[in-house]
């Protein structure tokens, strides 16, 4: 019996082989519970062992970074199954512990207030029916995705690479809703608030703001569906802001209040949290001081190998298709390049279907390995704005915006 059965079936098989089920009188429900608690994953950094839980609502197996407020990471193998991340495997990240667990759509209202001619209080069906539907595929990535891989290490949610996902979002353009309310001249920002609150009265409400022009760009949207279904509660049911190309901190979940501001927002979550060094790639030297800090914003390109894992054995002289995903950040993917010689030479991978410039894009690369031994496969994305993934990792104290060239080391035998 392996120390950490990965599935209920494996657990039951292990128990069965030892004759445990009859003697312990285990019922399937209890067996599943035990399996859920003993499955773990070792993320590739120190102190990286995490539980894999199967008991979060509307979710399949997820890596538990934190139970409350939930931080659930998508197990990386999910990204090899397609460019759209299933809703029940989509990562989860909440800041404040009072996350409503019951949402009554009949009572729910989306308010639009502040510097507008006509404040609105919209029912869900008014959001769905009264504005032109809008659909867009976009990557939602936590600002701190891959933070656990920072060196030197930094404090925070110690994510592997699975604090990201790609979905087909459906909803309405924020611009259309703002136009209905009639933004007054002199307005500068739009502030968003969800239904979650802190435990302590002193804890600042989670509020995020966008510049008015950005909010009205016709792409920022209020989503009521992802991948053709209503959102899972933990991903923001019933409404979530979608800010294509920007880090997920702006994608406010359980969105229920939109406030048009005459002054720049200086609330905690804009002025103190989610700040990055105002340097290329948000990159500084550890310990460097006197750096101007600015709110995080646009994403940078990334690419991953999904069909191979570190240490995997590959037969020599067999044709092999290496596969993965890439995204351009705030613009589309122009090229994905693969190197088999430690970055000296790069060859172009084949790109899969284009689901829009904000989406994951599949790539494939056919090769065969003749020489037995260790073989590193490296991948690098270049977006349509000409931005390429760097060959050395960035560093900042927040653990934000990691996008170094990725690699997998396999064994050719």
């Amino acid at each position: 019996m392996s120390p950490h059965p990965r599935s209920r079936r494996e657990f039951l098989a292990a128990c069965g082989s030892l004759g445990l089920i009859p003697s312990l009188g285990l019922v399937p429900g209890l067996a599943a519970r035990a399996a859920a608690q003993t499955a773990t994953v070792d993320l590739p950094f120190g102190n990286g062992r995490r539980d894999i839980a199967t008991d979060y609502p509307q979710k399949g197996p997820m890596i538990v970074q934190r139970n409350r407020p939930p931080l659930l990471e998508t197990p990386f193998e999910v990204f090899d199954h397609g460019v759209f991340t299933p809703n029940d495997r989509f990562y989860v990240r909440w800041h404040l512990a009072n996350v409503p667990t019951t949402i009554d759509p009949a009572a729910f209202r989306l308010s639009v207030s502040g510097s507008v001619r006509q404040p609105l209080s919209l029912r869900l069906n008014e959001v769905v029916r009264d504005f032109e539907p809008f659909e867009l595929a976009a990557v939602n990535q936590c600002s701190g995705n891959s933070r656990g891989l920072f060196s030197p290490r930094v404090v925070g949610g110690e994510w592997g690479n699975g604090a990201m996902g790609n979905a087909l979002w459906r909803g309405v353009r924020l611009k259309d809703v703002l136009d209905r309310a009639g933004v007054r001249s002199g307005a500068v920002q739009v502030r968003f608030r969800g239904l979650d609150t802190g435990v302590l009265p002193q804890t600042p409400n989670f509020l995020k703001s966008l510049a008015l022009d950005h909010a009205r760009d016709g792409e920022v949207m209020i989503a009521y569906a992802m991948n053709g279904e209503h959102l899972p509660l933990l991903n923001g049911f019933p409404l979530r802001l979608v800010v294509p190309g920007w880090y997920a901190t702006y994608w406010v979940k359980m969105l229920h209040s939109i406030e048009i501001l005459d002054q720049p927002d200086d609330n905690f979550w804009m002025s103190k949290a989610y700040l990055i060094p105002d340097t290329p790639g948000a990159n500084i030297t550890p310990g460097q001081s006197g750096v101007r800090m600015v709110p995080i914003s646009r994403m940078v390109p990334r690419s991953f190998i999904t069909s191979l894992t570190d240490g995997q054995v590959v037969r020599r002289n067999r044709s092999l298709t290496v596969r993965g995903i890439a995204f351009g950040g705030d613009s589309g993917i122009a090229r994905v390049l693969v190197s088999l010689d430690e970055g000296h030479h790069w060859r172009q991978a084949q790109l899969g279907a284009n689901h829009g410039k904000y989406s994951f894009r599949e790539w494939q690369f056919g090769t065969r390995f003749a020489t037995p031994g260790e073989q590193r496969v490296m991948v690098k994305a270049i977006n349509t704005a000409g931005v390429a993934q760097p060959s050395t990792p960035n560093w900042n104290a927040g653990g934000y915006m990691r996008n170094v060239v990725e690699s997998v080391s396999i064994k050719v035998a």
């Binding site: 773990t40 102190n47 979060y56 509307q58 934190r66 069906n125 769905v128 539907p133 053709g228 279904e229």
Partner: protein
């Protein structure tokens, strides 16, 4: 991690979602691509009533079948590992977040933990008497990041 896991008791999952949501989801999987290209209907400022968008309303109608969603989140009852300072950690840190967040951190010095504790106090309102900060920081530097 295993001992920590053993201390964690998750409440039994109970998920109650209206049947309508499930059936709606099944229907929605088949959203036709041509419906995405709905032509906007010009809105006149003098007509307050909201026009329906003919080409898209059939899709929208399927998504406007909303049912109450009610879930139970698993509850971690795990406490900090025994040691001097554990009771301070249990009575303050766990007010706003569960223990895994702390235990999953990399090794950090007491001075680094002091920075974090001060942030929890000043930014989020963690109730912690000043005279306990030193003991808590020392305790955290000894238990967190050491699986």
């Amino acid at each position: 991690m295993d001992s920590r896991t053993a201390r964690t008791q998750r409440a039994r999952l109970s998920l109650r979602i209206g049947a309508v949501v499930g059936s709606t989801a099944a229907v929605l999987l088949g959203i036709a691509p041509h419906l995405r290209a709905a032509t906007p209907v010009a809105r006149s400022a003098s007509v307050p009533a909201e026009p329906r968008h003919a080409a898209s309303s059939r899709v929208a109608d399927r998504l406007d079948l909303w049912s109450t969603v009610s879930v139970d989140l698993p509850v971690s009852t795990a406490l900090f590992p025994a040691g001097e300072g554990a009771s301070i950690a249990n009575s303050t840190c766990l007010t706003c977040h569960s223990v895994e967040m702390v235990l999953a951190q990399p090794p950090r010095t007491a001075a680094q933990w002091t920075e974090t504790i001060n942030k929890m106090h000043s930014a989020y309102g963690a109730p912690l008497p000043a005279e306990q900060i030193g003991a808590l920081a020392l305790y955290l530097s000894q238990i967190a990041g050491k699986p």
